[in-house]
Amino acid sequence: MSKILGIDLGTTFSAMAVIESGEPKIIENKEGARTTPSVVAITKNNERLVGVLAKRQQITNPTNTVFSVKRLIGRRFSDKEVQKDKKLLPYEIRESSDQGIEIKMGDKWLKPIEISAQILQKLKQDAEEKLGEKIDEAIITCPAYFDDSQRKATKVSGEIAGFKVRRVINEPTAAALAYGLTKKKNQQIIIYDFGGGTFDISILDVAEDTVEVKATGGNTHLGGDDFDQKIMDWVVDKFKEDQGIDLSKDPLALQRIKEAAEKAKIELSTSMETEINLPFVTSNASGPKHLLYKLNRVQLENLVADFISESIDLVKKTLAEANFKVSDIEEIVLVGGQTRMPKIREEIKKLFNKEPCKEINPDEVVAIGAAIEGGILQGEVKDVLLLDVTPLSLGIETLGQVNTVLISKNTTVPTSKTQVFSTAADSQPSVEIHVLQGERPMAQDNKTLGRFMLDGIAPAPRGTPQIEVIFDIDANGILNVSAKDKATGKEQSIRIEGSCGVSKEEVEKMKKEAEIHAEEDKKRQELIEAKNLADGLVYTTEKLLKESGDKFDPEAKKEIEEKVEELKKVKDSDSMEDIKKRTEELSQVAQKAGADLYKKEQEKKPEENEQEKKPEENEQEKKPEEGEYKEKENK
């Protein structure tokens, strides 16, 4: 059964995905990139180029390089939007015989669907090559505000490209699908799509069997590129002020600044400050000039504040048009690279008072949703096989009040994990299994899911009994924790419900706390480890002295006993330095004594071997003498 290709046919970039082993996966194009520029060109030699190759020669061939054709597809030439866009397009368009649009490419006039078809054709070829199989069917996405004519045109493009287009679905619906939001009924979802060139808002109502678009809004000429432009302007203005040179007149300097601006913008999504560093950016009579400016996150946020507040205003406007209140919205989905900006996420969280869905790569989420739709149509994505993950780590409390994780967060369920533990003290008769949920290394900082005891453990030195602990989560998120004493066969267990049903807010809160306390938690964990190590060493050393103390050299034995005392004194303190130092000292002294003990044992045995060796040694001693003698003769 051949796969259905999910395609996000974007204004500036397109992406594609399929379902592989039940999971959606982005397919790379022939050039190895996960997205393909939606650009088509015809060169002077009548060679057809699609994607990044077309983009690279754009400047040499502006009238025959067609981009943003999505702005024209399915529209009439007389449309207000088309007339507006016409002014910005360097390639020629005219009205076709059926009031549609025709685009000049080379010496031919092509319809927008034919141009889109070329992009789709490249995606088809690249996907077939990557997957090693024929792809005949596709799901193509389109904006929610596309009318019938535009949707039909999108479908026909796919057919021209050689696809059987199973569905044309809305981009916001695809995004909601990608996050599994269509599983829950009666949800109101808002999609905030901030891409490179366009900003789209969609409000969806997920009912029993349908996903309805309640309202759409946005700004078709607002995108991340505008953010880059603001940074560029800031840099050029600053340089003008500092050096008296206007770099906007220098196309090559401007190019470098544009690239650096986009790079800086991206860096400021993860760092608080970045540098724009362009050595030898230009030169004049007084020599070369260098550009080096620091830009911090707050400065960037100020530069683009108007854009961000415009986007929030448009959201409010669209909500009003749908007759929804902010509180009616249950989920927010982020689409488009620009949504990676922390300020944007902050504003959205502030407006809706909830965390948006942002885990899936915002550039890829629409293609992934399209692939999932394909999977559903094929029956590959069975409802019962849509699996959950544990949002937070699950573990038990171990020696030193530490949280020992058995199942880490984001593990797909159903799953099972087993680990063998032991007792902490000699003759310990029982163990308490304290089940924890959370990311902090200390038990007390996590949530207690349950507790139970396993008793009847046969008396034994600490560390000897084998207690097998099994964590098992079924597909419904029910956690069963059992503990079994391998020796006696005694077993106890506990059943915990709802370990997967943690609200998104709670998950975020716990993750944040783990981050904030990471440093101090790490120090505490190291201290506990050092103490446990010290405890263990004291125990084994004392045991060794008790059992074999008489075999030791009395001097050495005394030294070991002293070191044990010293370690005992500090191991309950909180000074990791002292504990580590005394542990080292005891360890060294004990090891040396142990090594001496073994040496003594070795020295007792092989006396016969020594006598046999001697004649051999004599022979060997002879030979070199003979050799020497011979050589002298030859000389």
Binding site: E20, S21, G22, G32, K44, L49, L53, A54, R56, Q57, Q58, I59, T60, P251, L252, Q255, P279, F280, S283, G287, P288, L385
Partner: protein, 154 residues
Amino acid sequence: MEKELKKKIEELEKQKNEYLAGWQRAKADFLNFKKDEAERFKKILEYASEDLILEILPVLDNFEKAEKEISKNKENSNYLNGFLNIKLQLKNILTNRGIEELLSISQKFDPNIHDAVEIIEDKNGNTGEILEEVQKGYKLNGKVIRPAKVKVIK
């Protein structure tokens, strides 16, 4: 009553077979996935240095810009030598990792390896030929990782 039971058994048989087949398929998918992962790892190792090298190339670019400027003044020759040695060191590291320069000047524009940033009028030149290289292009182990930025004759 018996007919109903028979029907129910048939249904359950069918469902059981479906589940078993699904289970086997999932297992097979997993094993195939593991094999694919091994292939992917091989590819990743091959191009693992690509990202790092792409980040380092701008440093090399700037060295070349500096070279052009500093060599304008003959008095700087000793400083220039020092720079050239450092630049050579960087270049050698990259070469040992499989980096090769792409040819541009006087070549015909080829979007596979060139990125046009400007077109220049030149009556004496051939259309489509590259007049100037603004930024070098490189390939890594045969794969183009950064096209050269060039000025093309109109």
